[in-house]
């Protein structure tokens, strides 16, 4: 048993040392945006939704839209929009999580990055689980236990993430519609 304890103590010391040397941190939204749209110019916007828009988003997302303030990033390359990204902040259990949900120009999910996770890290969704959302669009099938498989032991994270993705896809649709109407009025 002394041998077992020695081996494990050594492992602890090595791990602690590695940790001190390699201080891995959570990806910031700026880092994530740079990784998702590497050669694009990115413009930050803050959109204030109207009540009607919030209701419509709630209907499309099949969930509540709690805030009218939306943080959006538009990526352009050569004068052409190549994608958009949204920050969605929500509560998982009692603490917040923020996701940067990046979309392709056609409105499908390009990638999801966790920019803040204040619950214990064991409840955080792993990158491979988040990759299930790649290329997903807002359909009825975009639900846990349908197109999205659950996370063992992190049910609330899975539910909160799925709700966030549906919300962002709905916001994107509603804003795209508003922009079309504005374009039509301008013409």
């Amino acid at each position: 048993m002394i041998r077992v304890v020695s081996v494990c103590t050594s492992l602890l010391l090595v791990t602690t040392t590695v940790g001190v040397v390699a201080q891995g941190g959570q990806m910031t939204r700026e880092e994530a945006l740079a990784a998702v749209f590497p050669h694009a110019g990115i413009e930050a916007e803050r959109v204030f939704l109207t009540e009607q828009q919030m209701v419509r988003i709630g209907e499309l997302a099949a969930g509540d839209m709690e805030s009218a303030l939306v943080a959006r990033y538009v990526a352009t390359q050569g004068g052409r929009i190549v994608g958009r990204a949204y920050i969605d902040t929500h509560v998982v259990r009692t603490k917040r999580e923020s996701l940067l949900i990046s979309l392709e120009a056609d409105g499908s999910v390009k990638r999801i990055d966790v920019t803040a996770f204040l619950e214990p890290t064991e409840y955080q969704a792993h990158e491979r689980w988040l990759q299930q959302y790649d290329q997903q669009t807002l359909t009825d099938d975009l639900a846990v236990q349908r197109a999205i498989r659950p996370i063992a032991g992190a049910t609330l994270t899975a539910g909160a993430t799925n709700a966030a993705v549906r919300r962002v896809l709905a916001i994107d649709q509603v804003l795209a519609l508003a922009e079309e109407k504005v374009g039509a009025v301008a013409r």
């Binding site: 791990t15 590695v18 890290t121 609330l156």
Partner: protein
């Protein structure tokens, strides 16, 4: 990266102008603000701010409008950042000075930290058959038990260190600490953990909230062979690399003097002045080939003698080794789980000589369970209705030391069928019936209803 407010939502651009109106015209202007605020952006997009506030006034103060717009934009950005919970830049010495604090005292301004509260609970109604399978009266009373009421409390000191705990009240009057540990997240992939830890064994022990497992009661294998909720004091490492996750701890061992013919469950020390003469290693590895599916193995090995098993002047360690193989798949409403666990005790003959309890030398159990959420492929708004069935065999005297005879009542087969309803993912009601049989014909069937919650 550049920043701007959303140019296509020009009602937003009206706010500064309206604010100027408000300053100038008091009550009348306030009504205007409310009216405009209620308008849709599409309606507002057809208008312009000067039309509301007056072209002359707007032309007189264009720089004020731009400045107000800039300030509102900054405030919106600040609010959104604060809401996000993202790490902000560390407080500089100059900033700390502006806050009137030393840099360390001011560091709280630059950290996402704080208390986390969560919990779960379950109530179980058990109705036993009047007669066992051999026809003898059981005399067992129907029970309604508030099995567990739990509060999780955690505190994140910074992005590296956090504390997490589970305080449990069992049967409404027994208080336990189920876990309480400090985590050091060394890198994104590896962390160190110390305190009272859950043994990383099986499918249920670490994930034992009632909303997570099927069945009003936990599988018997994960009560007797893997004695959930199994927690001891220790330390170790945890982590994950791509598809592989692991945990490896050193903990105090069992107290072997509390083992019985029903398994190792009585040997748990639960962190209460635990005897630590005999330590143990425990760990697990899980592989997730695709989300929703994982397979893995767990191991526990260590002495349980705690320096107390003395027979004929010799001390016996009572090495206890438990391993399990497990797997689970949750795909499109289908939930399949299986587990095989085996425990082996050295020095079982000497232990029985001391205790006379018929402790098995080898114990094992296995189950397979299938459930299907009937509403999973419908737009049920999160409601889940899942019939399930579980087949299980458990033998706590699979092998006994020479000279000891096996009891026929320790080798049981359980067939459980039931249904669970989750009106929302945090609340569950389960109803099931378990048919229990063994060679001694002492199995007692039971009907269960449970209610659980987790938040």
């Amino acid at each position: 990266m550049t920043t701007k407010t959303h140019q296509d939502h020009t009602w937003w651009q009206m706010i500064p102008a309206l604010a100027l109106c408000a300053l100038a015209t008091s009550a009348t202007a306030q009504t205007q603000i409310r009216d405009v605020t209620e308008r849709t952006s599409v309606e507002a997009e057809a208008d312009t701010a000067p039309a509301v506030c007056g072209a002359a006034e707007t032309e007189q103060q264009p720089s004020d409008i731009e400045e107000l717009q800039r300030r509102l934009d900054l405030l919106a950005a600040e609010v959104e950042r604060l809401r996000s919970g993202e790490e902000v830049q560390p407080v500089s010495v100059d900033d700390a000075r502006r806050l009137g604090l030393a840099p360390s005292a001011a560091s709280t301004y630059g950290q996402a930290r704080g208390v986390s509260i969560a919990g779960y609970g379950e109530m179980l109604f058990e109705n036993y058959a009047d007669e066992n399978e051999g026809g003898a009266a059981t005399g067992q009373t129907t029970k309604a038990d508030f099995l567990r009421a739990i509060i999780y409390a955690g505190y994140r000191f910074n992005d590296k260190f956090l504390f997490n705990s589970e305080i449990e009240i069992e049967h409404a009057d027994e208080i336990y600490v189920e876990f309480a540990y400090l985590d050091y997240q060394a890198t994104d992939n590896i962390g160190v953990r110390g305190g009272m830890l859950l043994a990383p064994m099986g499918l249920v022990n670490e994930f034992h909230e009632p909303t997570v497992f099927l069945g009003a009661e936990r599988p018997v294998t994960e009560q007797r062979i893997i004695p959930s909720t199994w927690r001891e004091n220790g330390a170790g490492i945890y982590g994950a690399f791509d598809r592989v996750s692991f945990r490896a701890y050193v903990m105090n061992g069992f107290d072997g003097l509390e083992f019985s013919s029903k398994g190792v469950r009585g040997g748990r020390q639960k962190g209460n002045k635990a005897k630590a003469t005999s330590m143990a290693f425990t760990g697990r590895v899980d592989v997730t080939p695709t989300p929703g599916v994982f397979v893995g193995a767990s191991l526990y090995t260590g002495d349980s003698g705690q320096g107390q098993v003395m027979v004929d002047g010799a001390e016996y360690g009572v090495r206890t080794t438990i391993f399990d193989l497990h797997g689970a798949a949750q795909v499109r409403g289908l939930d399949v789980r299986g587990l095989f666990a085996r425990a082996h005790l050295d020095d079982a003959a000497q232990l029985n000589q001391l205790l006379g309890k018929g402790v098995g030398e080898r114990m094992q159990g296995a189950y397979i369970q299938v459930g299907y959420d009937l509403l999973s492929q419908t737009n049920s708004a999160g409601v889940a209705l899942t019939p399930y069935v579980r087949y299980e065999q458990v033998d706590t005297q699979d092998r006994v030391p020479e000279g000891l005879s096996r009891s026929l009542s320790t080798d049981n087969t359980y067939l459980t069928a039931g249904i669970e309803l989750k009106p929302i993912s945090n609340i569950v009601v389960k109803v099931d019936h378990a048919w229990v049989s063994n060679d001694a014909e002492t199995g007692v069937n039971q009907f269960n209803v449970s209610m659980g919650y987790a938040f």
